[in-house]
């Protein structure tokens, strides 16, 4: 039931209320409405402002180190036996993940709006680090909210944030993971709305966040498109990206949405297995609901209470997903699948041993699915994995699973 998308259709989305079809919107308490409307107005103005765009592009080039390479994983391709596997190396960005593309953009917005106090939520800590980094660079006060479970899982990133001058608030409420960090960030925002800019780390949240985060992350797909044409003379046949909130995936997918020949695969965290209920795969196993300011697929119980999630990867451990993905799922343009913790760890090990590239556990989900997919494809086909981040932050988790103290 896939719909042929046109540039025209895409331009009309999100609509004036921030809707992508039945999804998205702005479901927040009244105190935040004025701020969100101001942000929307200013963003729509700056989005086409040459000075804003030039500053953004320059920062991406000189500070982040873009473009990130599109690398042909020759040995991995040979071992897998199927499509040519290419890696989009977001792990090589400054701070080690795609998250910084977005924090550069939003911090720039904050400066244009004259806001001096920045807040952010983080799961794996990559978005927290990327936010603390741009705040250090611009001299902004930075507060990062992080579930206390994640503070434990990602201690390296917690320390990095502190070194960068950020205050890390360990969140003890609810399930003590990413969704609770986002709750507390929103609570802080309500209380300090005049002076505070909330840098949301993924394509979720109330309008205009899903729009602006997608725009900032689309540099991934634009580069991939150009590099793919330069290096192979054609577009890839399949793109594979992991989906937590969905920012690295939408950034990769968006510039290809009208290219019908390009198959899109978003890989959710299957945790201990979808059938166990212990996972973080709302698109694969959830239903539409409203959380954190937008309507989207969620993991919830029959009474509409948000369900606890499980994933070995803190950055995917979230019960919702960006509304544009919900829309892409419903119109059939993108495929959403899952891999288990086990499979992701196996993906991590393969990429590490065969290519000498240690992916983040989040990205390892994309790797694991891509290896299965590539094996079913022809040798003259081309598949790109978005390696959204590097795995240094996960070394403790992996060592622990291996029963090793480091």
């Amino acid at each position: 039931m896939s719909v042929k998308l046109t540039e025209e259709m895409l331009k009309a989305l999100p609509d004036a209320k921030g809707h992508f079809g039945a999804f998205g919107g702005r479901f927040v308490s009244e105190t935040l409405m004025d701020s969100l409307m101001t942000l929307e107005r200013e963003y729509l103005r700056l989005k086409d402002d040459p000075e804003f765009q030039a500053t953004f592009d320059k920062d991406l080039a000189d500070y982040v180190g873009r473009p990130s390479p599109l690398y042909f994983a020759e040995r991995l391709t040979r071992e897998t036996g199927g499509a040519q596997i290419w890696l989009k190396r977001e792990d090589l960005n400054h701070t080690g993940a795609h998250k910084v593309n977005n924090t550069i953009g939003q911090a720039l917005l904050a400066s244009f709006l004259g806001k001096k106090r920045i807040i952010a939520e983080t799961g794996a800590g990559q978005h927290g680090v990327a936010t603390a980094t741009v705040c250090a660079r611009l001299g902004l006060e930075c507060h990062v909210f992080m579930g206390s479970e994640d503070v434990k899982r990602q201690s390296l990133n917690v320390y990095r944030m502190k070194l960068l001058g950020a205050t890390v608030h360990a969140v003890e409420s609810g399930t003590k993971t990413l969704k609770d960090a986002m709750n507390d960030a929103m609570r802080d925002w309500v209380a300090n709305v005049d002076e505070t800019f909330y840098i949301i780390g993924t394509v979720a949240g109330p309008h205009p966040y899903p729009l602006l985060v997608r725009d900032f992350q689309s540099v991934i797909g634009r580069e991939t498109r150009r590099q793919s044409l330069e290096k192979t003379g054609k577009l890839p046949d399949a793109l594979v990206a992991c989906v937590g909130g969905g920012s690295n995936a939408i950034g990769m997918f968006y510039p290809f949405l009208t290219d019908e020949s390009v198959e899109l695969y978003g890989v959710e965290a299957g945790g201990l297995g979808i059938e166990t209920g212990q996972h973080a795969a709302p698109l694969c196993a959830g239903r539409p609901g409203v959380l954190h300011g937008n309507r989207t697929y969620l993991m919830e119980d029959e009474n509409g209470q948000i369900a606890g999630t499980h994933s070995v990867s803190a950055g995917l451990d979230y019960p919702g997903v960006g509304p544009e993905h919900s829309w892409l799922k419903d119109i059939g343009r993108a495929n959403y699948v899952s891999v288990t913790d086990e499979e992701a760890l196996d993906g991590f090990r393969k990429l590490t041993r065969i290519e000498g590239i240690m992916p983040a556990l989040e990205s390892a989900h994309a790797v694991a699915y891509a290896l299965k997919l590539a094996a079913t494809m022809d040798k003259d086909q081309m598949l790109v994995i978005n390696v959204s981040g590097r795995g240094d932050k996960d070394i403790h988790t992996i060592a622990q699973l291996d029963g090793i103290e480091i």
Binding site: T31, M33, M186, V190, V290, I306
Partner: protein
Amino acid sequence: MSRIEGVLKSLKEQGRKALIPYITAGDPHPDQTVGLMHTLVAAGADIIELGVPFSDPMADGPVIQLACERALKFNTSLRDVLGMVKEFRKTDSDTPVVLMGYLNPMEAMGYEAFADAAADAGLDGVLTVDLPPEEADQVAPLFAERKLDPIFLLAPTTTDERIRAISEHSSGYVYYVSIKGVTGSATIDVDEVARKVAHVHELTALPVGVGFGIRDAETAAAVGRVSDGVIVGSVLVDTIARHQTDPDGLRKALTDLLHPMREALDSLS
């Protein structure tokens, strides 16, 4: 005229202000909620705001977050809460009840099923914290057909244009949030609230209730002076937390809190 309009109109005619206590349904135990509602009425409540527990109460501070967690230990669902309203109605057909909560439980139940069950239970109003009027197209007609008053929030950050638009979508009363913050947080600046509420009165003919930060007779009176009613939440919920295992002590403590507020409000007239 809806039950809410009726109560607020008659109070106004007497020159009195509405006392609107909030408790979270299912806290400390679902079996106690209906009894507590009657206690609130006996202690002087004119309208009851009954919180629907939610796993992610983003607009609430720690006090109400914990109340939600206590209620959810017993799986208190939106259906259960409507059951409590229905039970309450068996012996009190005068006191309006307004549900206050978040959208997702309602969305999960289905808007039409919710509106039907709410009307059947004798519910009067619905305040959905994370549902601004812009997103309320679907529920508005369902509520209107069943004479449920949609109650929306106004905040210190709400522009004049929005105050007018939100009032257009509201009936019963509008709820002015006195502070920038979550429930139970800061102490209010009474002069600032008075100035703002006077301004809201210029922009809407609806009664204005003021909530967030009202914790004693003094703040109740100060805010009552400029508004049509005061909403008292966190201080009551905190009292419930402190008397979880002592139902008699809890009834007395709630009464001891509300009585002086009632008296202070009535001494204004």
